[in-house]
């Protein structure tokens, strides 16, 4: 066959076109899911376990044959504990990668960066972190616990055990501010008093003056809403001053960054917490899950955190919605989830609460004991009552804001 220039060009174009078409066909065959988490920088203690859990959830779904007969491709973005990158990567995920859903965001500050971006570009968003509650947005599902599910249980428990005067120390950003207001509300509701609420920027490491102030106020309970690596020094200095044995402590997010493993038992034993998930929960579903997790990431994995479990459950809920809808279309999946879809998760039964897009789930009070959490009391199927009081997406589907607590 004689190859002239025209023939050569024709066949070249045909071959490359076929290549492009087939690669597009392959790309449309997978369902893309984005994870946006901090994998470096000061917040990676929270982000790494979340990404591990998401990875495991995606791999399990793929091994089981994928979703709607298609494989799932997980695209992970590392936001490096930098708020600007959250905006940038949320746009990339929505516009360039055209993902079916975004799972991610860690601090409440980062969530409020992503949320409007994904609203604008009509991309479904799952926020899988325990937080201060009140977000009301039909495009978003919140699989983490909120104060009405945790603080409402833990405050009376701790006050009954230790006394009525509470001293709150909190991180100085929206999570700390709003959470401390919820704590104050529950303390007052239970007939207690709040001695003081002190806020600390995330880089404060010297808590000496605060420890003196707390001693001067003589509270019955110290309540920590401290966040991140620098704030761990509070627990050290508190123990070094000999205070751990004198004034007991409860925490709103203690251990979520594995603080109880970083600190010695002398510094952290006895701290009370209340979450949806603890690795040591004795249920068959959980024991099987922990075994799978350790098989995938090694038996020496320090601890499967609350945030990791929320992320795992968040993905499972989304996958359940897709299966039910028979489509990855955003609106169809939202409507499927709004039927009150529920899954049998390692933490127990988890179901979507249709009016708030939050979750109904089990919570447990536990105490730190020798670098582990010892579960003390269980509360089955808690509703997100705080958000439900202000938010009803069935009646007002176009509502889109974060409600603050009224004090």
């Amino acid at each position: 066959m004689k190859v002239n220039r025209r023939k050569f060009l024709q066949s070249a174009v045909a071959i490359s076109a076929a290549g492009i078409l087939s690669s597009r066909a392959w790309a449309e065959d997978t369902i893309k899911v984005a994870g946006i988490h901090d994998l470096s920088g000061g917040l990676d203690i929270y982000g790494k376990p979340m990404v591990d859990a998401l990875t495991l959830a995606v791999e399990e779904a793929n091994t089981a044959g994928g979703l709607l007969g298609r494989q799932i491709k997980l695209i992970n973005y590392d936001t490096q504990s930098n708020m600007q990158l959250y905006a940038q990567y949320a746009q990339q995920a929505a516009l360039r990668d055209k993902v079916a859903v975004v799972h991610g965001g860690i601090t409440s500050a980062s969530r409020e960066v992503i949320r409007p971006v994904l609203d604008r570009f009509k991309t479904l968003y799952f926020y899988n972190t325990m937080y201060e509650g009140g977000v009301c947005d039909r495009n978003q599902f919140d699989t983490g616990v909120t104060p009405a599910q945790t603080a409402e249980k833990l405050v009376p428990y701790a006050m009954k055990k230790w006394g009525k005067k509470v001293y709150i120390i909190a991180a100085d950003y929206n999570y700390g501010h709003i959470t401390s207001q919820w704590l104050k509300k529950y303390v007052l509701q239970n007939g207690g008093v709040v001695a003081s609420i002190d806020f600390f920027p995330l880089d404060v490491t010297n808590f000496g003056p605060t420890i003196s102030k707390i001693q001067a106020a003589k509270p019955d309970i110290v309540w920590s809403v401290l966040v991140g690596g620098a704030h761990i020094s509070f627990y050290r200095q508190w123990a070094a001053a000999g205070m751990r044995a004198r004034i007991p402590m409860a925490g709103s997010n203690f251990g979520v960054g594995n603080e109880h493993i970083v600190l010695s038992p002398d510094e952290s034993d006895g701290i009370l917490v209340c979450y949806n998930y603890f690795q040591d929960l004795k249920t068959p579903v959980n024991e099987a899950f922990v075994a799978r997790f350790h098989k995938r990431f090694g038996a020496d994995y320090p601890n499967i955190t609350e945030l990791a479990m929320s992320t795992y459950q968040g993905f499972r809920l989304w996958a359940g919605g897709v299966k039910k809808a028979g489509s990855i279309d955003r609106m169809k999946v939202i409507q499927a989830l709004e039927t009150g879809l529920s899954i049998d998760a390692p933490s127990g039964k988890v179901s979507i609460d249709p009016p708030t897009h939050h979750c109904v789930l089990d919570v447990h009070i536990a105490e730190v004991s020798g670098k582990r959490f010892k579960v003390l009391v269980d509360f089955a199927q808690q509703k997100p009552a705080d958000t439900a009081a202000v938010c009803n997406l069935i009646k007002h589907p176009n509502d889109n804001q974060q409600y603050m607590i009224k004090t």
């Binding site: 920088g41 000061g42 600390f200 920027p201 010297n206 000496g208 003196s212 200095q237 070094a240 001053a241």
Partner: protein, 288 residues
């Protein structure tokens, strides 16, 4: 009354901590005119050196007071020989080079130790003042700061090494003409500054924990203290630490930590406006 005693200890501690984190920089920046933006990372390395040593079974006191300064002092020698010695007299260039060094050290420690905060429990337990309890380690930090500053004063005032170092920094050519080897003096002085930073980082590690980016929390405060103190190393560091430490602690105790930091910075700006040469540019001018 006991609250006053407790507060007095806290004030002394704030001063001691500020003096400790600044004294290494006072030598490297105050004496040698090298803007060392990797100063915070020297402190961080001191903390890691102490924690690694004590987790390998070396006694905690040896780790804090001997291992950390030796390790960071040696790193100081390497840094001086490979980077800083080409840049004497070029302040802006030292700034750029040490900033790069700081990023490198943060990246390296993150790669080795991960980004999780590590720490050691403070030894010595706690003691009682009236109705209050505080950590005995606080007193140890105060003592270390006093000894370090006393030693620097003694070396500079009475020892030949101090005299030679001061002379070389003032006029290297003249010192060379008198038979001193300025290159060696520079290297030794730099590594002493680094070693003192390592010591400070180690001594503060049980209080604040260590993570790769902790230097950021220290570096601004130490520059403010050194600039506020002025040219004389021991007296400048002591007076500026005393001023800023007291202001910061009282403001923090009366209001909040946020406001404490704001007050510290405001005081520093005011001080530099009124005394551009630092405290020792006006007072104790004939001191060291």
């Amino acid at each position: 009354m006991d609250l006053v005693a407790l507060l007095a200890i806290q004030v002394l501690y704030a001063i001691a901590a500020l003096a400790l984190i600044s004294v290494g920089l006072a030598i490297i920046f105050g004496m040698m005119r090298v803007i060392n933006l990797a100063h915070g990372e020297f402190l961080m390395l001191g903390g890691y050196a102490a924690i690694v040593a004590s987790s390998h079974g070396i006694s905690i006191w040896l780790s804090l007071l001997v291992v950390a300064p030796i390790v960071v002092g040696s790193i100081g020698v390497i840094v001086e020989r490979t980077i800083i010695r080409f840049l004497y007299g070029r302040m802006i260039d030292t700034m750029l080079a040490t900033w790069g060094l700081s990023l490198f050290l943060v990246g390296l420690t993150t790669a080795i130790f991960g980004n999780t905060a590590v720490g050691i429990s403070a030894p010595l337990g706690s003691f009682q003042i009236g109705a209050y309890r505080t950590s005995a380690y606080t007193l140890f930090v105060i003592a270390v700061a006093a000894v370090v500053l006393g030693a620097i004063f003694a070396v500079m005032r009475w020892m030949r090494l101090g005299l030679i170092a001061r002379g070389t920094m003032q006029n290297a050519n003249m010192a060379a003409a008198l038979g001193v080897n300025p290159t060696r003096v520079y290297a030794i002085t730099f590594s002493i500054g680094a070693a003192l930073s390592g010591l400070a980082g180690a001594v503060l590690a049980p209080v604040s924990g260590v993570f790769p980016t902790i230097g950021v929390a220290y570096v601004a405060k130490s520059f403010i203290t050194v600039i506020g103190g002025g040219a004389a190393i021991p007296s400048g560091t002591v007076s500026a630490s005393a001023l800023f430490g007291t202001i910061n602690l009282i403001a923090t105790f009366v209001t909040t930590p946020v406001f404490g930091e704001v007050t510290l910075l405001a005081a520093a700006i005011l001080l530099i406006r009124l005394l551009p040469q630092g405290i020792t540019g006006r007072f104790f001018r004939r001191g060291l």
